[in-house]
Each structure stands twice: as C-alpha cells, then as structure tokens.
C-alpha cells in the first residue's frame, strides 16, 4: 500500500461491493422495468468501479502514511468527544435532558481546555438552562424528562 487515497479507496471498494451484493436480495428487475434492487445495485457497482479508478490513478503518485494525517494533531480529542456524545445519546431518556446535558457540557468544557471548576459549573448550568428555555419552553421541543421527573 502506498498512500492514503489508495487505503480509503479500498474501503469504498468493499462498501460498494457489499451494497451491490446485498442489492441482489431485492428484486433487480430488468433494464426495461427496474425492480427495487436495481438502482441500489447500480450505485454499489458504480462505487466499486470508481474506487478502483481512484486506486489505479494513485499508483504513480507519491507515498504517504496514515500517520501523516494526524501529525501535529490532538488525535485523542476526536475519540473522546465522540464517545461522550454517544454516551449522552444512550443516557438521554434515562437521565432526562437537563441532567444529561449538564453532565455533557461540563465534561466538554473541562476536558478540552481545562477551565477552572467555577467556570465549568457556570458554563454548564448556563448552557443547560439556556437551551432548555429556548428549545423546550419557547420552541416547544419535546425533550425527555428522565427518571427524576425533569
């Protein structure tokens, strides 16, 4: 493997092939009367072909490594933030909007650029109550209440 375009194109190749393969489960129909599987099959096949084109185009190009994409980056930031958002989604209906949101914003304010606890608490409280007021009270979005009843 030489460079990142080739690495990514291989992944797209696999995705394309999988889409085309599983489309056959649905009726493909014929070119004159396409079934529900027809266009998904075509799009998957097109993805696979285009991924191959990208791969081949890159053969004469210069090498690089996966690591180069994350050079001089705080690479941990992304998994940490993503994980916190997933946990937020999972806990949302159990904890309720207010508690869950408070915990998330406090965590995010503290973890990236460690602010003082005072600022973290103030920021998280403000963000939670502010968004609750705007979205729940004003725009009437139905936000989950959770086990504490709010």
């Amino acid at each position: 493997m030489k460079n990142n375009d080739q690495r990514s194109s291989l992944i797209w190749l696999l995705i394309g092939l999988a889409i085309a393969f599983f489309s056959r489960k649905y009726n493909l129909g014929t070119a004159s009367s396409p079934g529900p599987g027809f266009l998904p099959f075509v799009s998957g096949a097109a993805m696979a072909c285009l991924a191959l084109v990208v791969f081949i185009q890159q053969i004469p190009k210069k090498k690089d490594t996966l690591k180069s994409l994350w050079a001089n980056k705080r690479w941990l930031a992304v998994p940490i933030v993503m994980a916190s958002l997933v946990v937020y989604a999972i806990l949302l209906s159990t904890l309720g909007f207010i508690l869950d949101t408070f915990l998330l914003t406090a965590f995010l304010l503290r973890v990236m650029e460690p602010l003082g606890w005072g600022k973290v608490l103030a920021g998280a409280t403000g963000a939670t109550l502010g968004s609750y007021a705007v979205f729940h009270l004003w725009l009437e979005a139905q936000l989950p209440a959770g086990f504490l009843g709010f």
Binding site: D5, W12, V78, V81, L85, A127, Q142, L143
Partner: protein, 501 residues
C-alpha cells in the same frame, strides 16, 4: 405589467410583521454562522429546520433563505479581520481583505464587501424575478426523461466542479444515491437496506446526515487542530468607502454580480467557484495585476459581489425545476416537501405568495444585512473573540437537540453521530460531502423519473436519446465525463485545484 403586480403581492407577504421577524431572524442567524468558523449555512439550516415545522411554510422558507444569504455577508467579516474565512465562499476575500485590514483600511474593506454584496444581491434578485417564471414555463414541457437526464447532469456538474479528484466526487455521488434509496421502495413497498430498524423505513433522514457531515465533523476537525485565532486589533473606522474606492470597485461589483448570478444557476458550489472566477477576472483585467494580494479593493469587491449574486442564482433550478443546485438548496427542497409543497415548474403558479414573498423578502433581508453588518460590526468582532473552548460544546449541544427533536428519537442522534464520524474521516481523506448530499436528495427523484420514463417508452431506454432536450442533456453529461481525461483540460483542472488549495 404582470411582474409589477407580482412584486406588489410579494411585498404584501414579506412585509407582514411575522415574516419581517423571521426574515430578520434568518439574516441574523446567517450572519452569526457566517462569522463563526466551523458552522456553515448548511449545518445551521439543518439545525433550525425542526424548529420551523410549526411556522407557516412561507415564513419558514423566508427564514431559511435568510440564513443562506446572511452567511455570505458574515463570512466576509472574518476573512477581512482574522484571515479565516467564515465559510468557503469567502476564502478568496482573505487575500486582499486581510491585507487591507493590516494597512489600516479594515473599515473600507468591510464597507465595500457589504455594499458590494448588497448591490449584487439586489441585481441577482432582479434576475431571479425575470428569469425564474420564464424558465418555469419552459420546464412545464419537460417529462420524466428530461428530468432524469437533467438530474444526472446536475450530479455530473457538481462532481466536475468539485475540488481536485472527479472520480472521488463521483464516488461520493454514488454513495449518496445509495443512501437516498434506503427505506421503503415507493412502487413495490419493499423495505431496502433497513436492517429491520424501524425508523429507517422512511429512509435515511437528510437532516441528521447533513448535521453530521457539516456540523459534527467540522467541530471534530477544529478540536483536533487547536484553532488559533487572532482578531486584528485595529480601530475600525471609516466604513464608508471613499470616492476612489467606489471608482475602483464599481466595475468589479458589476462583473462579479453577473458572473455570480450565472455560475450560481449551475449545480455545485456556485458561490465558491464564482468568487474565485471573479477574482481571476479582476486580476486579469487590472492594469497592475501584480498588486493583487497586497490589499487591492477590487479583489474584495468583485468576489464578495459574486458570492452574493450566486446565492440568488442558486434558487433558480430549485424554484423552476425542483432540482436543487447545492447542499443548501437540497435542504430547502427537503423543507418544502415537509411543508407539503412540490418544488417544480408549477410552484410559482400554485404558490405565488411563496415565490414572490420569498424573493421580495430577500430584498428586505439585504437591507437588514446592510444595517446589521455596518453599524453593528463591533458586535460581530466581539463574538469572534469568544474562545472556541466555550463555543464548541454549544454547537454540539444544538446539533444533539436538533437531531432529537426531528422525531423525538434517539435513533436520529445515532444517525447524526455516525455521519459525524464518517464526515470527519471523509474530510481527513479528502472526500467532498456536497455531491453526497445532493445525490442523496436526488436519488428517490431519479428513481421515480427513471421508472416513469421506462413505462412511457414501454421499457426502451432509447427514450433518453430520442427526445431532443433529453438527448442534448445526455450529450452534455458524456462530454463532462470525458473532458477531464483530455490532457489540456486535466492540466487546467490541476492548476485550478492548486489555486483553491
């Protein structure tokens, strides 16, 4: 004159207090997201879409449009003062705008950007008023085969104009097409690729995908690369450009407006590309092109006019054909469908209050923007100085609430986070999200048009090349696919790609 009566109707609609309010909210939010880096108009519109469900469709579209052209204004502020474009269409403004600011002429640069945008916005609205009804009349003659070919053309143009690699952009379009097809097949009621997940039956929602690809992923990228922003510390004075400035910018603004309007009609990144083209044209026509990049006012006026004019032009394909020209218009299409309106040639006739109301509101919005951006520039500068550590939890929180309130379902949040991760990796590996979003919206429409065409022709695909309009479009599609392989075109595209980078 018909048009006078229509414009009067439009103003009647747009001047209703509620609509004035939503127009103001739209341009205000638009300016805000334009100023804030890492949150563009597409993400902002998808965020606010769920909140518009209980508005009247006209008010909702007025507000969503305001966000779009408001962002074009706001984006220039950060380009000039911080050398960071608030959104892609103001990248080129950094070149001369920031240099002007460093020479103490920030005021004039901001002023000409605002006035240029205002003039161009106004001109393109006039163009929209004149051209859209005419085009809609022509489009009435189109049948499913023409629509299918046109949508194909739209997708190919988007990928042709996409940054560097056309195969990569086409790959994204194919993936988007697939995503658009997930869910219940309308003709046979077969659930496709739903994995027995209930909320996928209705298809993959556009809003969570867009929020993930344009909102979450952008925040992730900003977080890992520790955004350093230094607002240029200078007293902003003299927002009114002087007489010499006007002499130097009058023609660039006029040319930028025309370039922007017509490039805006084309599918794909109209605003971005037109600003680059305008800059190139001004440099070429200038008596001393070597001065460009050192703070020439024409280098601010032209591109800023162009990106605003393009914002107007981009409405034409949506309002006349029902085919969105870019990701923002795809969002509007989604919105209109939710409100039960079918964008297309009949839209202007069936909902004149919507079309003329929205168009005239854009005019009013442009005046509001002038007021928001010139006297209140100090407020935006203050917002620019808010550290990102405080901002990003809020942006993420808005995305979470926005996704959840679509259907009161955690599933939509999951979908958004998934596409946030996908979008992050796509940006890392240099794949564009715009063709994906456009293809996703067009997917079901294309499938319908394809099937209807084949039914019309008793199953013969020849129908796409035997009808003259469709044939012409198909030839254009093939030309666009083959052109990039020709050596001299390839070279030109590489040069352009380098400039864009």
């Amino acid at each position: 004159m018909d048009i006078v009566a229509n414009v009067m109707l439009g103003f009647q609609v747009a001047l209703q207090p509620a609509n004035l309010f939503f127009c103001f909210m739209g341009v205000l939010i638009g300016t805000l997201v334009g100023v804030l880096p890492g949150l563009g108009p597409v993400a902002a519109m998808s965020l606010l879409l769920p909140t518009t469900f209980h508005l009247s469709p006209v008010s909702a579209v007025i507000m969503l449009s305001g966000i779009y052209y408001g962002a074009m204004y706001g984006g220039s502020t950060t380009s000039i003062l911080v050398n960071i474009p608030g959104e892609a269409a103001s990248v080129i403004t950094c070149l001369d705008g920031y240099q002007m600011a460093r020479k103490g002429r920030a005021g004039a640069a901001l002023g000409i950007a605002a006035f240029g945008s205002f003039i161009a916005g106004t001109l393109s609205i006039l163009g929209l008023m004149l051209l859209a009804p005419m085009l809609a009349d022509v489009a009435l003659k189109f049948g499913p085969p023409e629509y299918f070919s046109l949508m194909l053309l739209g997708l190919v143009i988007v990928t042709f104009l996409a940054g560097s690699s056309m195969p990569k952009a086409l790959l994204m379009a194919a993936f988007g097409l697939f995503l658009g097809l997930i869910g219940m097949d309308i003709m046979t009621a077969t659930p496709r690729f739903t994995f027995d997940i209930y909320f996928l039956m209705d298809g993959v929602g556009l809003v969570p995908v867009v929020m993930g690809l344009f909102g979450i992923s952008e925040v992730l990228l900003n977080l890992e690369s520790k955004l350093e922003r230094e607002v240029f510390e200078t007293k902003i004075k003299g927002l009114l450009p002087n007489r010499q400035d006007w002499r130097d910018s009058a023609w660039p603004i006029a040319r930028g407006s025309v370039i922007g309007f017509f490039l805006g009609i084309l599918p794909g990144g109209g605003a971005v590309i037109s600003s680059f083209v305008s800059y190139g044209v001004e440099k070429k026509l200038s008596a001393d092109p070597e001065k460009f990049g050192t703070g020439v006012i024409a280098g601010v006026a032209g591109p800023e006019a162009a990106n605003n004019a393009a914002a107007g032009g981009a409405f034409i394909p949506l309002l006349t054909l029902g085919i969105p020209a870019n990701a923002v218009m795809a969002m509007l299409l989604g919105a209109l469908t939710i409100y039960g309106m079918q964008p297309g040639p009949m839209l202007i006739k069936e909902h004149p209050d919507l079309f003329w109301g929205v168009v005239t509101s854009m005019y009013i919005g442009n005046i509001m923007l002038l007021v928001l951006n010139l006297p209140l520039i100090g407020v935006w500068v203050k917002i620019l100085k808010i550290p990102y550590e405080y901002l990003f939890p809020l942006i993420l929180l808005f995305c979470l609430i926005g996704a959840f309130s679509l259907n009161n379902s955690v599933g939509e949040i999951g979908l958004m986070l998934f596409f946030g991760g996908v979008g992050y990796l796509m940006k890392k590996f240099d794949y564009e999200a715009a063709p994906l979003v456009l293809a996703m919206v067009l997917g079901p429409m294309m499938e319908n048009a394809l099937r209807q065409s084949l039914i019309m022709a008793n199953g013969s695909a020849a129908i796409f090349v035997t009808r003259p309009i469709s044939l012409a479009v198909v030839v254009l599609v093939l030309a666009l696919l083959i052109l990039p392989m020709l050596p001299w075109v390839k070279k030109k595209r590489e040069v352009i790609a380098e400039i864009v980078e």
